[in-house]
């Protein structure tokens, strides 16, 4: 057993903090009947719950990828243990085959040979130009490369059968939870349950039927092909998920306190405080977002480049850059929410229950926290889910412009940026781009649909 050292990156802390915060929020919601009723409405929304199921899968991958460690290097006994420079995550450990089985360069999905011809030395016959056999893709077939189609079909079918069994077990559990006996199935099937079990089960079925065969095939083949340096594209996609989630969630987490605090203060106190805060966000808002981000990221790069001693590993530098990007995105995006909260506080302040509290002599701070903040929560929750998809899309664009995440960090943006020129090749290398765009599309679509469900449930105007 090799030793290892847990590495805690800043973004890991924030992501687990986020998990803890959502746990706390869940307890808060459970105690607050109107919010609970709104979440029940989200739970009854079929499209929303199907999207939430897909999102949950992405989040699990992201969380697995947020537990980092460094392996201990083999050294003489008795000496100070030294650790590998490479920072790995729990996800990396689970995907070790995908991570380590690199080819030389491009190969198509399910290919057994490289994408480009090379000179191969044959013993005794000189050298010929041909497509070299892959080191790992379809290795178990040996010389019998024609059997790929058959092998893929049988493996996929076997895995699909397994997925079906797993789904039946899950569905039976869900049915028992709805009602004991056979009536649970019926209720779910007819959509008579309060919670949209049928939508969840159908999306779980679809996901299992796609993912289980995919991963069982990924053991033998490169299902999405390999990229320029021969790395498996599926592995890169899975690693990109964490980056996307961090950009989408941590950014909001960072800007939320500022927006809530300033928005409520401006709305509640009015007067010069209001003027000052309004001036602040009008100034920030009037700089076009991309330009402000570009300027801030350029300045951050100068800081990072002139202080290399701050970072002991590449991963740490990339991580800090990612966080800085979140902060910058947060600074440029809190203004909208702040304005909404200010307007709502302005309205609440005039309501009778607040005036009654003021007449009783309740302190301002207490009024804000106890009586105004809970009534702003719906706006905050809507903003949180609505911003997510936009931020994930923005990451790709920013990475293309060169002001996104560190080039050493896998993300949808860096993948697209690296694969962009490959469409100009003859024949075309399409799989990297297609995989990155598809994965991003699924993530963003699920987030958008879920956000719509949340907005419909929480927005009093929509009811």
């Amino acid at each position: 057993m090799m030793g290892f050292e847990i590495v805690i990156l800043w973004s890991d802390i924030l992501i687990w903090l986020l998990v803890a915060a959502s746990g706390g929020l869940a307890i808060l919601i459970a105690k607050n009947p109107p919010l609970l009723a709104a979440w029940r409405r989200v739970g009854a929304n079929r499209v929303g719950m199907a999207a939430a199921t897909v999102l949950l899968a992405f989040i699990v991958v992201g969380l697995l990828d947020s537990v980092h460690y460094r392996l201990q290097l083999e050294g003489k006994p008795g000496t100070q243990p030294s650790y590998a420079i490479e920072v790995l995550s729990a996800l990396d450990a689970m995907l070790t085959p995908l991570r380590t089985r690199n080819e030389k360069t491009y190969s198509e999905p399910f290919a057994t040979r490289l994408f480009a011809k090379e000179s191969i030395d044959l013993p005794g016959q000189g050298s010929i130009r041909d497509y070299p056999r892959l080191k790992h893709g379809g290795k178990h077939l040996g010389e019998n490369e024609a059997a790929v189609a058959g092998d893929v079909t049988t493996t996929a079918l076997r895995a699909a059968a397994l997925a079906l069994v797993a789904w039946l077990v899950l569905a039976a559990l869900a049915a028992r939870r709805v009602a004991s006996g056979g009536s649970g199935w019926q209720k779910i099937w007819r959509g008579e349950t309060d919670f949209a079990w049928n939508a969840v089960l159908i999306s779980v079925a679809i996901m299992l039927l796609i993912l289980v065969p995919l991963f069982s095939l990924a053991g033998q083949y490169h299902v999405f092909g390999t990229d320029k340096v021969g790395q498996d594209v599926l592995y890169q996609i899975l690693k990109s998920i964490r980056t996307g989630l961090i950009i989408g969630l941590v950014t909001t987490l960072v800007m939320l306190p500022v927006a809530i605090l300033l928005g409520m203060t401006a709305g509640y106190f009015g007067g010069w405080v209001d003027d000052l805060i309004q001036y602040l966000y009008t100034v920030l808002n009037s700089i076009p977002g991309v330009l402000l981000i570009a300027a801030a990221v350029l300045m951050m790069q100068v800081i990072i480049d002139t202080h290399p001693q701050w970072f002991s590993t590449v991963a740490e530098r990339a991580d800090l850059r990612l966080l800085a990007l979140c902060f910058i995105l947060g600074i440029t995006s809190w203004t909208g929410l702040c304005r909404l909260l200010r307007g709502e506080t302005l309205k609440l302040r005039e309501l009778e229950y607040i005036q009654a509290a003021q007449a009783f002599g309740v302190a301002n701070g207490r009024i804000i926290v106890r009586h105004i903040l809970p009534n702003l929560m719906h706006i905050v929750i809507i903003a949180l889910v609505m911003d997510f998809s936009g931020l994930v899309l923005a990451e790709a664009v920013l990475s293309y412009v060169g002001i996104g995440v560190d080039p050493s960090m896998t993300s949808f943006g860096t993948m697209i940026n690296n694969a962009r020129m490959e469409l100009g090749r003859e024949p075309v290398v399409w799989w990297s781009l297609a995989a990155a765009f598809s994965a991003m599309f699924v993530l963003v679509l699920a987030a958008n649909l879920f956000a719509d469900a949340v907005r419909d449930a929480f927005d009093p105007r929509a009811a």
Partner: protein, 325 residues
């Protein structure tokens, strides 16, 4: 009305000063000119003399705010703040890394940017409003439902995909128009078709959905009910009553971006090789040309503030309930 415009302009001034101070802080206080020089020169060539030379060439060797070695007004004017930030107000943006005058470059590049952005804006508006109107007309039907689902799907696709996919399909496979480039005069249309088309398509999803909700808000208002009660046919109600009233929030909502059209689009211009302001900004970011990025930030906010003023004016113009006082 003139007094109103003047007052709005006066309100805009403090905001512009705020932007100016912010960019100054960002570019000169967060990092000193020495840091920038070290970054630009690279690790190998960093000597104190090289840094001094770099700063002198760009005028960064002066004090930040107060020059105590000069006398009189020169204590304030011979500083980085005055020469690099305050002078932006009179349109002096200094020189880029390649020695060219930034202001002249910006003036020359506005044309191509506008040639892409203006048709994209107008066509996109027409197409999205039409689509939203059709969806709202068939509201609560299967057609409406799937239309909205399609809109959500369309807005979930990365803008990069529209550009890369469009270039690949139309220019590389079908060979209908050149992949990228720009021409002079009327010849430019061949280069403009594809970026405009892609710009329109990539914007449809979100804007059509947004306009549809505006139409639907209008559908339930009292005047619509009155019109129905009068026995007007649904088509007349829609195209004569609802469309006109819904256009007010839609048009006043988009007015704010009109001045920003001058800035062009970063992505479109860099992918299609359009020599506009968007690609200028991207090149400056890649080359870490601080002077150009700083100027673009200033101009961008100037145009945005102009957009805000135009929005206020347009509200007052189309809605007689709002007065100029």
């Amino acid at each position: 009305m003139l007094a109103y415009i003047v007052r709005r302009l006066l309100y805009a001034l403090p905001i512009l000063i705020g932007v100016n101070l912010l960019t100054f802080a960002l570019f000169f206080v967060v990092n000193t000119p020495d840091d920038m020089a070290r970054m630009q020169l690279g690790v190998k060539r960093v000597t104190p003399e090289a840094i001094e030379k770099w700063k002198r060439e760009r005028g960064y060797d002066k004090p930040l705010l107060i020059n105590s070695s000069s006398s009189g007004l020169a204590t304030l004017s011979e500083t980085i703040f005055f020469e690099k930030s305050v002078r932006m107000f009179v349109g002096d943006f200094g020189r880029a890394e390649d020695g060219r005058d930034v202001a002249r470059e910006i003036a020359a590049r506005m044309g191509p940017s506008l040639a892409i952005a203006l048709p994209t804006f107008i066509l996109g508006l027409l197409v999205s409003i039409t689509l939203a109107l059709i969806l709202a007309f068939f509201r609560a039907s299967a057609f409406d439902f799937w239309g909205v689902v399609l809109c959500v799907a369309a807005m979930s696709i990365s803008g990069l995909f529209y550009i890369i996919g469009g270039q690949y399909l139309i220019s590389k496979i079908w060979r209908l128009v050149p992949i990228s480039g720009f021409g002079d005069g009327l010849d430019a249309w061949r280069f403009l078709v594809l970026p405009v088309l892609i710009g329109v398509i990539s914007g449809i999803g979100s804007s059509a959905r947004w306009y549809r909700t505006i139409f639907l808000e209008e559908v339930n208002k009292d005047y619509v009910r009155t019109a129905r009660a009068k026995g007007l046919p649904e088509t007349i109600i829609f195209f004569r009553h609802i469309l006109r009233n819904a256009l007010i929030p839609i048009l006043t909502g988009v007015v704010v971006v009109i001045p920003l059209l001058f800035m062009g689009s970063l992505l479109t211009e860099s992918f299609f090789g359009i020599p506009g302001l968007g690609s200028y900004t991207i090149d400056a970011i890649h080359a870490q040309d601080f002077a150009v990025v700083r100027s673009m930030v200033f101009i961008g906010s100037l145009l945005y503030i102009a957009g805000l003023i135009l929005t206020d004016l347009s509200y007052a113009l189309v809605d007689p309930r709002i007065r100029f006082e």
